[in-house]
């Protein structure tokens, strides 16, 4: 489930943990409790997390494949086209010699595949996003170092500020805090 827009008040609730296992555990519990619009923040990727959050997106690999195919086509097409546009005999080679054409085809395939993969990843992640409500949370700067955060967003059907807070407290976090809304960038 996508995040709500940043100007909803309150934006959500944030619980802070000090160990990855706690976070994973907390996420599982929240899912069981029926929460769906939630996200976890950690200094490094946690193996269990995608499954715990019930994520199964394969958009990035598909983009990679698409890029590769497109790149290869572009590479080979480019060489066919240019040799056809101005046929020039060189070195006793036939005009369309597939053997030498393979190399540039391969290079462009790689270039496009990687380009698509990384660009796709950033777009799907809505990055760059310099400003985000969660940044305002106390201690959140440690999310990139040694703390682990769980956020339940306000657009979750079961979100109710006091109940949800209570629920989070039951997970024995270091702290539970409301995420203040801000304005949504254009």
């Amino acid at each position: 489930m996508r995040e709500p827009s940043a100007d909803r008040q309150p934006f959500g609730l944030m619980a802070e943990f000090c160990a990855p296992e706690q976070l994973v555990h907390a996420v599982r519990r929240s899912r069981e409790a029926g929460y769906r619009s939630l996200d976890a923040y950690s200094p490094y990727p946690l193996e269990e997390m995608p499954q715990a959050l019930g994520m199964n997106g394969n958009a990035v690999p598909w983009l990679c494949l698409a890029g590769g195919v497109l790149g290869a086509a572009t590479g080979y097409g480019l060489q066919l086209f240019t040799n056809d546009a101005y046929p020039i005999a060189t070195g006793g080679r036939p005009l369309f010699a597939w053997q030498p054409f393979m190399l540039i085809t391969f290079e462009l395939m790689v270039l496009f595949a990687v380009g698509f993969t990384i660009a796709g990843m950033l777009v799907l992640n809505h990055l760059p996003r310099l400003h985000h409500p969660v940044f305002a949370v106390t201690d959140f700067h440690r999310a990139s170092a040694d703390r682990f955060f769980l956020a339940i967003f306000c657009n979750d059907p079961r979100f109710e500020i006091t109940q949800t807070a209570a629920f989070l407290q039951s997970l024995e976090p270091l702290r539970v805090e409301a995420i203040q809304s801000t304005e949504e960038p254009e």
Binding site: A89, T90, G91, G92, P94
Partner: protein, 944 residues
Amino acid sequence: MTADRQRERWERAAAGRPGGVDRRTVLKAMAASLALAGLSGCGAQADEKALPYVREPEGFTDGGIRWYATAAVFQGYAQPVLGKTVSGRPIKLEGNPDHPVCGGATDAFTQAALLGLYDPARSQAPRREGRPVAWSLFERFADDLAVRLDQEKGRGLRLLTGPLSSTTMLAQIAAMMRRWPQARWHVSDPAGPAEWRRASRQLFGRVLDRQPAFDKAEVVVSFDGDFLGPGPRQTPNARKFAEARRRRQAGKGRFRLLAAEPVPSATGVAADGRLVASPGRIGRLLTALAEGLESGTLPVAGLSRRQSDWLCDALTALKAAGPRGLVIAGDYLPADLQALAMRVNHRLGSFGETMRFSEPVLTAPPDGEESLSVLVRDIDAGAVSTLMVVGANPVYAAPGDLDLARRLKTVATTIHAGTHRDETAALCQWHLPLQHDLESWGDARAVEGSVSILQPLVRPFYDVRAAAVLLAGLMGRNVSDRTLVEETWRERWGADFPGRWQQALLEGRAADTAAPAVLPTPVGAAPAIVPETAAEGLTLVIRPDAGVWDGCLSDNAWAQETPRPLSKVTWGNVIGIGPGLALERGLETGDVVTVSVGRASLAGPVRITPGHDDGVVSVTLGYGRRHEGGLAEGLGHDAYALQESTDRWQRGGLRLEPAGRREAIATTQPHQAMDGFDFVRTVLPGSAAPDGKHAEENASFYPKAPVQDPSWGMVIDLDLCIGCNACVTACQAENNVPVVGKDLIVEGREMHWLRIDHYHDGDIADPKHHFQPVPCMHCEDAPCEMGCPVNAAVHSADGLNLQVYNRCIGTRTCSSYCPYKVRRFNWFDFTGNDPETIRAMRNPDVTVRSRGVMEKCTYCVQRIAEARIAADRQGRDIQEGEVVAACQQACPTTAIVFGNIADNASAVSKGKADPRNYTLLAEANTRPRTTYLARISDPGEEKG
């Protein structure tokens, strides 16, 4: 006519053409329906400004090419040429095809003459005591001088010229001597065949010219006679030699060339049997041969095995050949030996057959060979008050012992006239700039005597005068050179003058003016030849330089940069020594040594020359020039210092000490041993070149491209090539090939598109020598094209391997991939700072290459384009012989054949069908368009 009828006609025209219709009828039809008319357009040239004529010459077409028959004068002889002018600028000299002497070919010197015309270093104004003055000043001086001379009957006046065959000037001199009886005419001919003239007197009591007919000969035995080497007779000799060789190749008769020589020469390289022999030993061999011929038994005592074998071989061959035999003794051998050789010829009965004679073409001065010595003697005697030097440079180009530099100072009045401010000019009170032959009216005689009228290809660039005009001026006449020449011949031809004059100008040769043939008989008995003196010390051999001759070409950049045929040395001369001597003295190529004879000495780098006699040290003339600002200033060493007026060419008792330092020799081919490779192949007569045929069938990963028509190719016959460099210089002139100078040659950055590789094979003391011209091979599967990332090196439909300069970005991959390394790179901007005159000389049909681009032989693509356009305009195919590459055109032995290989009748196709045909580096599998015909080994060897 209605549109429909018109259309029908076109359709018929097109339909009637099965792929290639009879185009002529169609064009007739066209002509009928639409009367052919003219049209308009605009100039398409690079320069912003366009300067049309004020008064257009008759029949002028903008950028149109015109040919004028004239001659370049070398050593007094006319070298007949056609001068190619574009928009009034001479841009190329080619041999005059209608002239019996050259038949369209030239030598390297004649090709370089063009640069002599444009030479920016030429003297451009009269000078007095070194300061520029107006001509009028000299005229006034000349008038006074004439008055004084008239009073004194010319006492003390001496005129010194170079060798002369100009009827006009000789007439002028004669007139001068009549007017001033006490005056005297001298000739300085530093590299002339003086010894032969002596021999001729000894034999026949007078001077005759030899006109050897090598083409008629079956056996030629040469004793240090480099008749194929550089010199005024190189072109005719080479042509006749090639004719004989081709006769042998075709199996239509025998031809063998045996040569004995101390220093390898073009003749030695071409010879079937070459013997290394010291000058002394050569005399011994010649006398032995003469005896053997008389008595029938050879006195082989004291001869080495190799020598006696060679001698027996020569003797038997000569006996067999009889009148078809020919013995040649080198021009620089002592008179006695030359005379003896002639007697041998006479004994063989070859007089009038292979050895012919004619009246002398050059007119000898009163004192003959002694001319210069007499002048010196008179100067010392104080008998010379006025010395006028015209077209000679005795201060530099004269035996050291004459020391004219010192003696000139003792002469009251000295006048020098020349194209350059040379050493003599520097010491004379007056210097007068002369016109170049190619910008003057004049006349001269070719080696066989026929007269060529020199007509100017262009008006003089500078305020200079023709020598004839100068002499006339001295005699108080103010006339143009044209008038003088016309007068001369009007006088001689009388009523036929207009016709003959026309004919002479058109054909470049006045009909039946050849020197009358003479059939002399030797008088008296052969003088006893001084027996070979026991070799004390080393013998010095002095010869003219293959690049700059006696020094007359040392201001010519093309001549300087053309690699000497054997040593491949440029921009300087070296001291040649044999491998044995080098070993004995522990010398390496490049070590500087001091060579001294008597009091004279010189220092220079040695070059170990394979096949060079170990008792001999060889030096060449033409270097060590001392005149300021000259191109050659500070290059090489002056071998004249070692000459003595009594014996100039061989000197015994030579001392050689290492100077303990080294000097870089600017050579274009540091490594000349063939190292057991088969770059140059040799076959027995009538047999095929090893795997010559398989080159084509070599496997290729890709399908072969179909051969189009026309499809250009080249065959080079190594059996005919004498390595004379005519092709190299012709290519340089035709294709605007830049000169890079000594330093860059040392760095390996020469620009010649066509190089002649020289190889020696086998025992370094007496190896086989080979020449191999290497232009671009124009490979079918060209690695260079494959390497170029920007399509600058590409293939054309007619099989050319093109280099598109304006597309080249200079990755140099093409050159890295080229197995033949024929590509040349513009490391710097070689053309940007060329002086105005050099720009004017450029061939407008060839792109001038800029910095950072690769260039190479194009098979003269501009000439192909010219022919293609001409053919297309006339709606026909390009005919055989219509495209002649510059190198092919110049080649005196027609070793280079170029043409359409798609046409089986073409000469080049026949060449490629020859079993001797082989591919250079077939293993590289590049399928070159340029192939070679293997050399043929000595037929003498096949029977034993």
